[in-house]
Each structure stands twice: as C-alpha cells, then as structure tokens.
C-alpha cells in the first residue's frame, strides 16, 4: 500500500513537471533557445495568484485565466523585447540573454515583494482529500495533476490540429521554407512564447495552493524542466510529458526509499542513465 501511495504521489508531482517542461520544449524545439527565465515566469504566475487572493479575495481557481493571461503576455513581451534580437545570434548568446532575464525577473520580484515565503491561504479545495482504501490523495494535488494533463493535451491538440499549430510545426522543421510558404515566422515565434507562458501560468496557479510563493519558487522547476525536456527529446511534447512523469516517479520513490536529500540527485542520475541507451532522449531520433 505504501508503495502505491508513493507511486501515486510521484505521478501527481510528475504531471505538473510535465506541464512546465511542455512549455519549455515548445520554445526549445522551435527556436533552439534555452529559456533560463522559464521557471521565473512560473514564479510570476504564482505571485499573481497570491496577490489576487490577498487583495481581492479571488480563489486560486478563479484567477487561473488571469494568471495564465499575464504569463502569456509576459512571454510575448520577452519575445518582442529580447528574444527577437538574439534568435539568430551565434553560439550561446541567446542563452546569455535569457540568463540575464532570469536574474532580472527573480530579483525584481525580490525587490518588489521581499524574499519572504508567502502562502495562499484558503481555496475551495484546501485541506480536502480523497481516501481510497489506505491511499490518501490531497484534492489540490489531484486537481493540479489533472489540470496539467488536460493542459498538455490541449497544447498537443493545438499544435496538431489548428492552422497556427501547423505553422509552428513547419517553422520548427525549416524556418526558410516555412517563410517561403507564406508563414509569418515572427508571429509564430510570438505565439509559441505565449503558449509557453500559458503552460507555466497554469502550472504556477495550480501549484500556488500547495507550495509557498517566493522569488526563487520557480528556480528548481526550471532546472528540472531542462532535464525533462532533454530526457523526452527536444521539441517533443509527449516526450516531455512522459519524461516528466518518469522524473516525478523517480523523485518520489528515491526520496521515500533512499532519503529526501537524494531525490533531485536521482532525477539527474536517471537522465544520465537513460541517455546512455537513448542518446537523443526517450522519444528523440
């Protein structure tokens, strides 16, 4: 029973990791840009929820569209102001830009809102839990996981079915040819950054009821998202999804059987091990 409980916890955490990683993999696969500010965008969404809750008494689930909208907007602004200028730059210059951006956003949050931990108090779900046999599932965690899976599904459908999604796919394959076919690649990039922002916006909102809100809140998620994206294969949405679940499971099982201090080390170790057999990620080729 304990084993099942741990597995379930791992899957629930993993699905939220997946959503964060899906946002990252979209940008990475399309533009070959490592966005170091990805986790910090998530932190901004958590603060949005926190302030809407504290000042206006909005329930976190009510503020979901607002916080997702704000991070989507933030994504577009980041693209228009910064990424657009470095997308064709040689070497690691784009990385330099996003790293600077991450430092800026994180410390801007610290400047405005202090480094203190803050908590979103009551939501309609807080404290509620489901009992199945001996297994306890916290309702906030369950909703966070289900919401993340639903969002991943929506993003995957958007990429696969809509015209804009097809334009994104085409641009990822070859920017020049997509442009020849009349795709406005500038717009495609902006849309992708907005999508990436929506992913972290939703993930941040779903997590804000579970975890404290502080300027570094997104840092570990950002770092794990890098590993998950690479583990799944760059630009592969479902790859990122399964890899996220795998990392969540590893963390939960490793943390339970070996001690919590090793859980992140194990997640990174899994990456190194899997890549020995699949050098381009689980679903890359």
């Amino acid at each position: 029973m304990m084993f099942l409980q741990v597995v379930l916890t791992g899957v629930l955490v993993g699905s939220v990791y997946s959503l964060v990683a899906v946002g990252l993999t979209l940008v990475w696969g399309l533009m070959d840009i490592i966005n170091f500010a990805h986790g910090d965008m998530m932190m901004i969404s958590m603060y949005t929820v926190f302030w809407l809750y504290t000042l206006l008494k909005f329930d976190p689930f009510v503020s979901l569209p607002i916080s997702a909208g704000i991070t989507a907007l933030l994504g577009i602004v980041i693209y228009k102001l910064v990424i657009k200028r470095v997308v064709n730059a040689p070497g690691l210059m784009a990385l330099l830009a996003t790293f600077g951006l991450s430092l800026f956003i994180r410390n801007f949050a610290q400047f405005l809102w202090t480094p203190n931990y803050r908590f979103v108090g009551e939501s309609i779900l807080s404290g509620k839990r489901i009992l199945i046999a001996d297994i306890v599932i916290g309702l906030p965690q369950l909703i966070a996981a289900l919401g993340s899976i639903l969002m991943t599904l929506l993003i995957a459908l958007f990429i696969k079915r809509t015209k804009t999604g097809k334009a994104i796919q085409a641009t990822a394959q070859s920017r020049d040819i997509a442009e020849l076919m009349g795709v406005n690649t500038e717009k495609v990039y902006a849309v992708t950054f907005a999508l990436s922002g929506i992913c972290v916006g939703v993930a941040g909102t779903l997590l804000s009821g579970i975890f404290p809100v502080y300027p570094e809140a997104g840092a570990m998620y950002g770092l794990l998202a890098f590993v998950i994206v690479a583990l799944g294969g760059f630009g592969n949405i479902w790859g990122a999804f399964y890899a996220g679940i795998l990392i969540g499971l590893t963390e939960a099982l490793g943390g339970f059987y070996l001690g919590t201090q090793f859980k992140y080390a194990l997640a990174f170790l899994i990456y190194l091990l899997v890549l020995q057999f699949r050098p381009k990620g689980l679903f890359g080729w």
Partner: protein, 326 residues
C-alpha cells in the same frame, strides 16, 4: 613555443594587469582585480572544452568545487599545504572529468550540455549530504598566520593578487598552447563538424577527453585559490549553477573560442557585478542583481557577436574605409 611568443598583444595585457593594484591601492579595487583574475582564468579553462571543441559544459562548477574541497579538506583535516591540495585537486578533477565525461561524449549538442549540468547537480547533492565534509554547513578554513606555504595572507591582498596573476597567466598560456598545437586544430575540426573530423581519422572521443581533462584541471586550480581567498566554502557556493553560469556568461560575452574572450568578458562582468554589489547590495533587496541581469540582457541584445565581435567588425570597417579612400 614559437607560436606563443607571437602574441604580443597578450603580453601587453599581462603587463597592464600587473600594474593595476599597485597604481590604485584601494582594497576594494584590489579585491576586484583578484576576482577578475580568478574568473578570467576559469573562462580560459572552460574555453578549451566549449570554445575550441564546441562541447558546451554547464557543469564546470563540479571541477571548481572539487578543487576547492580537495585542498580545503586536506588543510582542515590534516594540515597539509593548499599548494599540494591544489595539485592533487587538479589531478582529481581531471580524473573525475574523464570518468564522467567519457560516457557523456556520445551525446551531442544540448544533450551533452544538460548532462554536464546534471553531473554538477548530482555532485553538489552528494556533498550536501556527506558528513565527512561537513555537508551543507560548509567549512570555515582555520585562520593561520600569514605564510606563503599555507596560502593565507591577512595583512594585504597583494600576495593573493600575485598568486592569482601567476595562475591566470599559466591558464592563459595553457589555452594558447592547446590552441596553437596540433591538438588545437583537431579540437576545432571537431567543433566545426564532428562527422568530418571523424572521417579525417581524428579520434574524436580521445581528443574531447583530453580537452575536458585539461579544462577541468585548470578549473580546479582556481577552485583551490578561491577557497583560500574567501576562507569559507559550502556546496551551494562552489558547486552551484551560479559559478558554472558565470564562467559561461563572461566567456560568451567576451568572445567564445578566443584566448582574449574570457579576459575581455571578465574585465566587463566582474567589476560590474562586484561594484553593483558593493554600492547597491547592502539593501538586501536584490537591486544589484536586477541591474546586473538587465545589463547582461542589453549587451546580449545589442552586441550578439560578443565584445570581440564588435572589435573585429570595427576593424573590418576601418580596413574597408582605408581601401575605399586609397
């Protein structure tokens, strides 16, 4: 050796740096020159594997930390001179980098970069939960009277400066020697096209391994110096992503794959981060890092080729101008 003597510009830079702390005898300024030398040296080391060979490493903090911890543990537990620790640390780092990177070299591009990041994070976590090295609490290096042998100087920063200066020159000359040697051409061939290099008969894995070992040994040496200079280390400080990224940032900013790159990058980035910290850091509100981050973004946006790219472009423009007027 002949090739090394050709770099007159480099010797001019060396000479200018040597004068700096004697001209401006401000303690703060001397501190910045020491940090500049340490990070420029780290950049030179990192440049060998990433700039020359094209294998991006986001995990050089691992080797920096190994250098720092090897000497510190030996000094703290057994009272052995940090100089011996420095040499052993470099050998350790080279050995560990060989063991860890060998399986990783099958990975290409970003997959390799993330693997190096993963290795550094794993090593950090292990040190955090390793009681023998005091875990997350870190180690305060016991203060001893000033002595060269114990690498501790409390009266003046000049001895630290001179040690950093010599190590920096050694690191730079190592980078020059690698670049101008047969090995340098092999490494650049690997960078430009892995497949083509292999087709020409270069044993790519072996040369990548050599480059990684040299690079990590250089990095570890500065780790030891850093520990002796700050006199305190903990896993988050020396193994953290911050150190890895600082090395990456300054080299990319200066110019990737050039011996001058890390020197220029460190000369810009280190004073920037240290001065913003000194003047704005006291508030604890993060204004210093905010401005630092914003300035990095601005530089990246407006000079995407790095500062060295700017020089080259101006030079070219000048040459063209001379041609048209002639």
């Amino acid at each position: 050796m002949n090739e090394i003597m050709k770099n007159r510009m480099l010797y001019l830079i060396f000479a200018i740096i040597l004068i700096l702390p004697f001209v401006l005898q401000d303690v703060n300024f001397q501190h910045i020159t020491i940090m500049f030398l340490i990070f420029a040296g780290l950049g030179e080391g990192w440049n060998i594997i990433t700039g020359f060979t094209g294998q991006t490493s986001f995990g050089h903090a691992a080797f920096f930390g190994i250098g720092a911890y090897t000497s510190t543990i030996m000094f703290y537990k057994f009272g052995i001179s940090p100089w011996i620790g420095m040499i052993l640390g470099a050998l350790f780092a080279a050995g560990i980098s060989a063991v860890v990177s060998y399986p990783c070299f099958r990975l290409k591009g970003h997959y390799f970069a993330i693997a190096t990041l993963a290795v550094a994070e794993i090593i950090k976590q292990l040190f955090v939960s390793w009681d023998y090295v005091e875990g997350a609490t870190g180690i305060s290096i016991p203060v001893k009277p000033d002595s060269f042998w114990m690498m501790q100087f409390h009266k003046s920063k000049i001895p630290y400066f001179l040690i950093a200066y010599v190590l920096f020159i050694v690191a730079t000359l190592v980078a020059v020697a690698v670049e101008k040697n047969k090995m340098g051409y092999y490494l650049k061939a690997i960078r430009e096209s892995h497949e083509a290099a292999e087709a020409l008969g270069i044993n790519t894995t072996r040369y990548k391994l050599y480059a990684m070992m040299i690079s990590s040994a250089v990095t570890a040496v500065f780790g030891t110096l850093y520990a002796q200079y700050i006199l305190y280390i903990d896993p988050f400080m020396v193994f953290g992503l911050d150190i890895s990224m600082k090395i990456v940032l300054l080299t990319v900013l200066g110019g990737l794959g050039s011996v001058y790159g890390p020197i220029i990058g460190a000369a810009i980035l280190i004073p920037l981060s240290e001065y913003t910290r000194v003047f704005l850091g006291g508030t604890g509100k993060g204004i210093d890092l905010m401005i630092y981050g914003a300035l990095i973004v601005i530089v990246a946006c407006f000079e995407p080729r790095g500062v060295l790219g700017l020089f080259r472009r101006t030079k070219k423009r000048g040459a063209q101008y001379a041609k048209t007027t002639a």
